[in-house]
Symmetry: C4
Subunit: 279 residues, 4 copies
């Protein structure tokens, strides 16, 4: 969808996930540090969150595919009719498809199934790689600024793919997870920026072959990232501050829960611990 | 062999190995998870499979070299005769040669020899790298679609080389092995796709410089990969489901076997365990 | 600032940090080797040094931003005034901004806060990457020598970004830290070299499209690096030699300190040890 | 030295080191496997070999620099004389210089000094990288075949730099060391191949812009590597076979040596073991 909405939709998805991750991972990090030595219920709680996240991701991917296919000027499921029909929309649908696969991998990983550890991260990394791959071959024959503003996106996309691939091998590395959060926020805000530059709401079109514009946009990309880092930092601090304030009460609740379970089934706890260590 | 068969032959090889791997590795993964703590006979069984695989790979590579050399319009072993003779066929022979070397490395690795751990993976990685290397310098002076459809192959080839190289250092990482399986299936089906596009069986030639065709082919590549991921997922699920159904009986058989050996030679078992851990 | 001073300023910063690191890390390495098994006060001392380093880095970044903005021909904070205002200075300010963020990350990492381990290294790696990223898109439409001499800088910048990223995952690897020191010294001396070549103090301008000049500059870059390696090597040797000379007295002082604390609070020591191992 | 000898000289150096490594590392690998649990004298013996290797490398680098400077048409130490003097020879001297630095790092690493573990590998990796870096900017304005045949070299050079860098972090990984050996042999034979093609001894000049020649040379490069792999494989087998034949006698000698030392100073042995594990 070559208009503002077509960029705002994926932008909102990435922004949403980036913001959510920048809260989720600091939360897990702080809870794990605090409950050092007794991680029983933290993994279970986060498994449920991962399940919900996977379902939402799959749903959003479905919404994205449907939107690309059935907007008024979309291909409505037709691929070839004397010539290729609306290939741009088909390419965007393909991008969403791989995020859908990533969502399904999230669901499978958080279910009690014998999936290999790290499947969810690998699927996300593949989805990001496919997005970058399609964008890369997407940019021919466009005006300089259009090409440049999209190719800048590739830095966040391939950077995200690489850092998520690293997560497959270094599980629960908070720093990598925060890096991913910041790159997702960057993608989100940059999709909006692309929308504002190429389809300005006030109608003042940018000159697409002005070298000054290209230089500004390059720098602007760095500012977006500085803001993304700031957001991640603020969310980390907030989570830390909130869990510390609620820490006394919560800590004792957990201890009570532990005492109760301690008597009954210490074997099942070990299984859980083992499970959480394996992943 | 610049025709449909010349692409179907390597395509079948890659597809065969990809499908086989997508069964073999989930099988090992599930068996190891089930027989946690008593891995005695699993590694031996898979060593034998690896041996057979190596022999087959070497044989297929030999078939490939022979086919490239002795097809009617092949070089028949002549390299230079006033000018270079059929360099394309020679290059393809060279690619098969390195898969032959990889097959020999598989045989050596699965034999009781003091080969360094990971030799088979490194040899496969080198074979994939050489394939990509030769393809890369292979594509000059061709029409755009021909060049593009072959260069897309490089993503699967170099991706496979990189992921197999990672396996050298992270042995028995199921996820990397599944990634390799999926990339091999992708290569297999894409060789067929190249054959269908460049040498269509129904005779309707594709326009080789149509931008729409190039855009479709790029997207089609992603669809091939989505199907490859689906196949790997289905095979994983089937293997898991079948081993679970047969698990009760098999598990007890193994236990009986264990009881028998336990009395006799616990020292040889330790040696086996050590061996399987070393690799 | 397109003049000699504009290159001498960042050059001095990098040179200063490179030289400082080439003393700091050998010092930590030698002290840790010597006090094997009793690392109590070494980490605390280096935490304080890291704090000071972070404060200085933030201050230098602030100085850099101010200098770029408020030199006589600077933008004085104006970004757009009918056309983009002095984008070069704005880009340089952006580079300094990310070093400022890196300085703040250093301060946070060395403070007793629950920051994820390796945050300081990741922030430095991002700062180097952003510097390289902006430089890369900075070089269009310049004479060959100007373009070449700046693009050589990218080797040190991206090399530094990559090696610092490795440090996130391999903490306290002395070799990587020395590599970083040498690359920082290289950047520092090369900024001076760029200044000398493009804005010669004696006024003899270099021919900017002479192939010989480009070949010499390429080789000259390697010589700079050889000198940087020499400096790091000399500093390492000096530190080793000095700590060995002072070792006897210092060692016994530390032992006395240890004996004193041993009685009082062995629990706090354990906490410290744990902390230093975690990082 | 743009003649056959100028390529034969570095070719011989690389070939010599590649062949030597393909004997040394299998030897260490087999001895360590055989003397499992009692590695006392193996590391000491190889430390001495490393020292000799470092001295030879430094000497060869010195010979290389002298040859490039003081051949009849060399620069004889003059760098600038109205114009740059013989920059090619200066660039080659610079390449040799970094191999000299690598040699010195080998000497320092094998001496009983507190050098960081992996220094020798890092220095070799830097030397290979600098060689590749200078070659990369070396190739402008040359005929296609000349440019292609040199750029193929870069695959071995940068591949060697990357694999040697990996060795910094994965010490004593036999597979990586064999990979390095094979890439050094490849570089050695390829230097000879470049000499034969560009300065044919029989005087039959190759057509430098014939596409067939370029295609053949690309394939020929793969054949060189297949031969390099074969050589490494043969040397590995020979070493294994020879050590097995001599194993009985040698093994018992070592055991006698062990018995003797066991009584006297078990503490010094532990120190040695610790040292060999640290590295």
């Amino acid at each position: 969808m070559a208009n503002f909405k077509g960029h705002a939709l994926p932008g909102s998805f990435f922004l949403l996930f980036g913001l959510w991750w920048s809260v989720k991972y600091p939360l897990r990090h702080t809870l794990q540090k605090r409950q050092n030595g007794r991680k029983q219920n933290v993994p279970l709680f986060f498994k449920k969150l991962d399940l919900i996240e996977g379902v939402l991701k799959t749903f959003f991917a479905f919404v994205g595919i449907m939107a690309e296919q059935f907007v008024p000027d979309g291909p409505h499921g037709h691929l070839y009719d004397e010539d290729w029909v609306k290939l741009m929309n088909w390419q965007h649908s393909t991008m969403y498809l791989f995020y859908g696969i990533s969502g399904i991998a999230d669901i499978l990983s958080s279910a009690p199934l014998p999936t290999p550890a790290g499947l969810d991260r690998l699927a996300l990394s593949i989805a990001l790689f496919v997005e970058g791959f399609l964008f890369y071959f997407h940019l021919h024959n466009r005006p300089p600024l259009d090409q440049h503003i999209h190719s800048l996106l590739l830095v966040a996309v391939f950077g995200g793919a690489a850092s998520t691939l690293l997560e497959v091998f270094m599980k629960n590395n908070t720093l990598l997870e925060l890096l991913r959060s910041s790159l997702a926020i960057l993608q989100g805000t940059w999709f909006y920026q692309i929308g504002f530059v190429l389809y300005p709401l006030n109608g003042n079109l940018w000159e697409l072959d002005n070298h000054g514009n290209i230089m500004f946009i390059t720098m602007c990309y760095c500012w977006h990232y500085a803001v993304a880092l700031l957001i991640v930092g603020i969310n980390f601090s907030l989570v830390w501050w909130v869990t510390r304030r609620c820490g006394g009460r919560q800590g004792s609740e957990i201890e009570i829960g532990l005492r109760k379970t301690n008597h009954h089934d210490s074997s099942s706890q070990k299984a859980l611990l083992q499970e959480s260590e394996e992943e």
